[in-house]
Point group: C2
Chain length 250, copies 2
């Protein structure tokens, strides 16, 4: 799910549809181990009877669970819990918005991938790749000068670096992460964020990454990317504790 700043107080428990509720119920039963991999689900009409809904609703719920890789169906035999439920696709926060406490962990995942991406981009970038990155960098600068929204330009810069790795999977994953982080980038471009010159700080970090990629220096690129991720995290208030020694022993 997308990271949403407003917690939206009233929709804590949102019974948005019968199929939705049934999906949650069944998924919970699978993840809780109540329905082990390989186990057969009750028949559709039985599920409908137990939950008080029609077979159409049951079928829709099972269709979604199938799409997420939680169950598999065999005509005539029944519906079965998949061998590796939920591992067909990867989601950040399977349901509901991401909690602020999780952001630090997400930043670590993002850092792992972005740093490696910067390193590979420095090794493999072509002249055209570099030009594309330079253009994206200029777009961010323009947004800073014009006072317009730079969230899109920022995302394009990171995508351009990913493209320079010539690795489609890496690109897709960077895009996936970037999308979920897009809302966290927004505070930097608000009035208060500008006054604190946060976009300028980010842009300095961007330029450092760009310079390292330009001179094909993987180590410097990785270091610059690490610095940028750390800077981003601290700018939005996710304290990037580095090796705090507290509460370490088990």
């Amino acid at each position: 799910m997308k990271i949403e700043p407003p917690p939206a107080a009233e929709e804590v428990a949102r019974p948005r549809g019968l199929a939705d509720q049934l999906v949650r119920a069944l998924r919970g039963r699978i993840e809780g181990g109540e329905l082990a991999p390989g186990a057969r689900l009750p028949a559709e009409h039985a599920l409908g009877e137990r939950f008080g809904v029609s077979r159409a609703v049951v079928r829709e719920a099972i269709a979604r669970l199938k799409a997420d890789g939680y169950v598999e169906t065999r005509q005539g035999a029944g519906a079965f819990v998949a061998g590796a439920p939920g591992l067909a696709s990867f989601r950040l926060a399977p349901d509901g918005p991401i909690e602020p406490g999780e952001l630090a962990q997400l930043f670590e995942l993002r850092a792992a991938v972005e740093v490696a991406t910067a390193r590979l981009a420095a090794e493999r970038r072509t002249r055209a790749d570099l030009e594309a990155i330079r253009r994206a960098l200029r777009e961010v600068s323009r947004a800073i000068e014009d006072g317009t929204d730079g969230v899109a330009a920022d995302g394009a810069f990171h995508r351009a670096i990913a493209a320079a790795t010539h690795n489609g999977h890496l690109q897709r994953f960077i895009e996936f992460l970037g999308y979920h982080f897009s809302e966290t980038r927004r505070p930097a471009w608000t009035e208060t964020g500008r006054r604190a010159r946060r976009p300028h700080a980010a842009q300095r970090e961007h330029e450092r990454i760009f310079a390292a990629i330009a001179r094909r220096d993987p180590v410097a690129a990785a270091r610059a990317a690490t610095g940028h991720l750390r800077g981003s995290a601290s700018r939005i208030g996710v304290l990037g504790k580095r090796r705090s020694r507290a509460k370490r022993r088990a």
Copy 2:
């Protein structure tokens, strides 16, 4: 989708169900840009008529596209292409098995995450974490000695390291990747793989990672993880070219 070694020659074009076909058709139209984000899909009965299927099939197809984040529906208004189609979840190879040519790229993604995971594990592991990793390592050794299948034990070793980061998202992603790579681990444990002493080579690399984590040495852990990933790739025939200078200029 899971990586499957046998190409399964006959199921190249598998019309496994009407809803399946409709899902592919619509998703292709969305990814091809034919249906732009925000655009409204034809009504369900219209889609049914155009593709020659009933509304039930259309609803099942749309339910799956909803689950994957490609479309959103609003009762009374219609179904709309999502703002960021396909970015709600991340999949390796959205349909069909992974092609051998992609494996090198996937190894790069996996390396990025596993190396960072090893580094964090070395920084944060508790005594209990280390003990769990040691146990997993012993399981792999036992599989080597007994001549039994070590794929599961191998996976458990990597999961134990991920657990030592105390980062739930990292753990889930490692598990996700590990699942999709589980089939690539299998050749090492076959008769020919054993004769080539591939499990022994992998286990030496495992021990190096373990030692670095044990002495809380993040740099060595990262280096050992890099070596292991490179070793795995080369053992299954994915040549881990390091900076081949050929065809570099644009």
